[in-house]
């Protein structure tokens, strides 16, 4: 068994909103090369966990560690610069900036980046995502599907070690969904690590190498998809809705 690096680790992460315990002592480790599907009924705390693991929320208890070093409550942009990228449930692009500019922003936050180099990389990713012809268009003029691809592109510009995708398949028509899945798999084969949150079970099961299930703020299962699918606790969690 090879020792793979643990890129992101949530150790005993807890978060409370008012009276609700959104995350309850969650242990979550992302190893290099993983493609994790994170699922669970609505309100199980998945997005909260993602927010915490990417630095957008500070946990009330526990800590987040990147490559073994505790982040110590740093701001979200530090995570991004350290290689933790994420997309949002509802795409949050820079609407009135062009497609290229959207990619230049993350491109230029990397240390020692130059405009020329960032532009080159951006164009490369635009080709990969089939968006090259839209380079000068304002992001708000893209179709929904193109926007999701662009958001993925923004992540890639950070040359991230881990990508957290929050409901990438939500409201996406089958053709685009297949395109997205293809891209994710290509990138994964190229060495990127993914954590994908979604409700689209079919897609998740298609791509995941490992399945993590959450319910009511707790992690209730974590392992190979075939095993987790038949786990009693998981089934009752979903059935109990």
């Amino acid at each position: 068994m090879s020792e793979r690096a643990i890129l992101v680790r949530g150790a005993g992460v807890s978060k409370r909103f008012g009276g609700i315990l959104a995350n309850d002592s969650v242990e979550f480790a992302v190893e290099e090369g993983d493609l994790i599907g994170l699922i669970g009924p609505n309100g199980s705390g998945k997005t909260t966990l993602i927010n915490i693991l990417t630095g957008h929320l500070r946990p009330d208890g526990g800590e987040v560690m990147l490559r073994g070093h505790s982040t110590g409550g740093q701001a979200a942009h530090v995570y991004a610069v350290m290689g933790v990228a994420r997309t949002f449930q509802i795409t949050q692009l820079f609407s009135r900036m062009t497609v290229l500019e959207n990619l230049l922003v993350p491109g230029l936050t990397r240390p020692n980046s130059t405009r020329a180099e960032a532009t080159r990389r951006a164009r490369g990713y635009l080709e990969f995502l089939n968006l090259a012809h839209l380079e000068q268009l304002d992001a708000k003029n893209l179709s929904g599907g193109q926007q999701k691809l662009l958001e993925l592109g923004r992540c890639l510009m950070l040359e991230p070690a881990v990508l957290f995708l929050d409901e990438p398949f939500a409201g996406v028509h089958p053709q685009l969904r297949d395109e997205l899945i293809k891209r994710i798999q290509e990138l994964h084969n190229g060495g990127r690590t993914f954590v994908v949150v979604d409700h689209d079970m079919e897609s998740i099961l298609r791509i995941s190498k490992r399945l993590v299930v959450m319910a009511r703020g707790r992690k209730i299962a974590d392992g190979l998809p075939e095993v987790v699918r038949t786990d009693q606790t998981v089934l009752s969690a979903y059935a109990g809705l």
């Binding site: 957008h56 949050q92 936050t109």
Partner: protein
């Protein structure tokens, strides 16, 4: 040819400088004020139009800059350029502080807070009149001993050109991209690695230092400084100028300042107009010019939100490009970026 619009502007500038000595003093004063306002509107557009931070405290910084320079010169006899430099430094630090304090405030809350800040400054300057001279005014050292305004004209021009150059460099750099990203979506910007807090503070600090520059120059130009310049009335005028011109670009913000300042002066006289067909006489009272611009502002917001000068400016930028536009591959046009 590319950059044709730049050459045209430079030519116009050269003409203005060349013919300046022949201008009459009154209009020269208007031009100087227009240039001071231009520094203020363009720096405000950095904050509001680029970074999305609607600070209503911008004129308060101009006021702080003015008093800082005036008082330092008065008490310690330092040369005026040093006084103005101190004003800039003071506003940079104070601006950064306000930016830091406002970090977690959004939109209207930020506006209200900075409005409050401006009010406190005004009240403090007004009340502590043993220091500031209060409402009676503080007499300042003039920069030039000349009896004409001509040197002030050239100085204002130089300061405006320098300010626009610096701000322009900022806006075209990656920092410009980051500021715009802040306005679009702060959370997404953070997710892209933009140090949100740092840039918000920086935006405030930089914009406020330009306000301090304008205030400091104004103080030693106008001769008498009163707390009123930090008041809401002047801030409102700044907003009016910037929004009508176009708050998302530096050139349009400057255009708004110049156009409205000149129009304000042109509209200062009262006119009577006998309408031929209807047999009535229309009286124009100069007092109406401010409400008039208020209406223009409302119309602009309602129907041409990115400013009245923006379409003109965009067309102007395309002056030399009729032939380049036929290229099949879209060219990354730097001119289209917000500079």
């Amino acid at each position: 040819m590319r950059h044709l619009h730049v050459y045209v502007l430079m030519a116009l500038a050269a003409l203005a400088l060349f013919f300046a000595p022949g201008m009459n003093q009154y209009w020269m004063h208007v031009a100087i004020m227009a240039m001071i306002y231009s520094i203020l509107t363009s720096s405000w557009s950095l904050l509001a139009g680029y970074a999305g931070l609607f600070s209503l405290g911008h004129m308060a910084f101009a006021s702080i800059g003015g008093y800082t320079s005036a008082l330092l010169v008065k008490w310690f006899g330092i040369p005026i350029p040093l006084g103005i430099a101190a004003a800039i430094a003071m506003c940079f630090v104070l601006g950064a502080f306000i930016g830091w304090v406002c970090l977690r405030m959004s939109g209207p809350y930020l506006a209200i807070f900075t409005l409050g800040f401006a009010e406190i400054i005004r009240i403090a300057f007004s009340t502590e009149d043993d220091i500031t001279g209060g409402m009676a005014g503080l007499h300042t050292e003039p920069i030039f001993a000349d009896t004409t305004r001509l040197p002030y004209f050239y100085a204002a021009f130089a300061l405006l050109a320098l300010s626009l150059l610096l701000m322009g460099l900022l806006v075209r750099s990656r920092w410009g991209l980051f500021l715009r990203a802040l306005r679009e979506d702060e959370q997404a910007a953070a997710a892209c690695g933009v140090a949100v807090a740092r840039f918000r503070i920086l935006a405030f600090a930089i914009a406020s230092s330009f306000a301090g520059l304008a205030g400091g120059f104004y103080a030693h130009y106008i001769g008498v400084l009163t707390p009123g310049i930090g008041a809401l009335d002047y801030m409102a005028l700044l907003v009016v100028m910037t929004v009508i011109g176009g708050m998302e670009r530096l050139p349009t913000a400057v255009g708004g300042a110049i156009a409205i300042e000149f129009l304000l002066e042109l509209l200062r006289g009262s006119y009577r107009w006998d309408v031929p067909l209807l047999g009535i006489t229309v009286h124009y009272d100069p007092q109406w010019r401010l409400p008039f611009f208020g209406i223009i502002l409302l119309l602009t917001m309602r129907f041409a939100r990115n400013g009245l000068m923006t379409p003109l400016w965009l067309q102007f930028m395309r002056l030399g490009e009729a032939r380049a536009a036929s290229a099949a591959v879209p060219v990354v046009r730097e001119e289209d970026s917000r500079a």
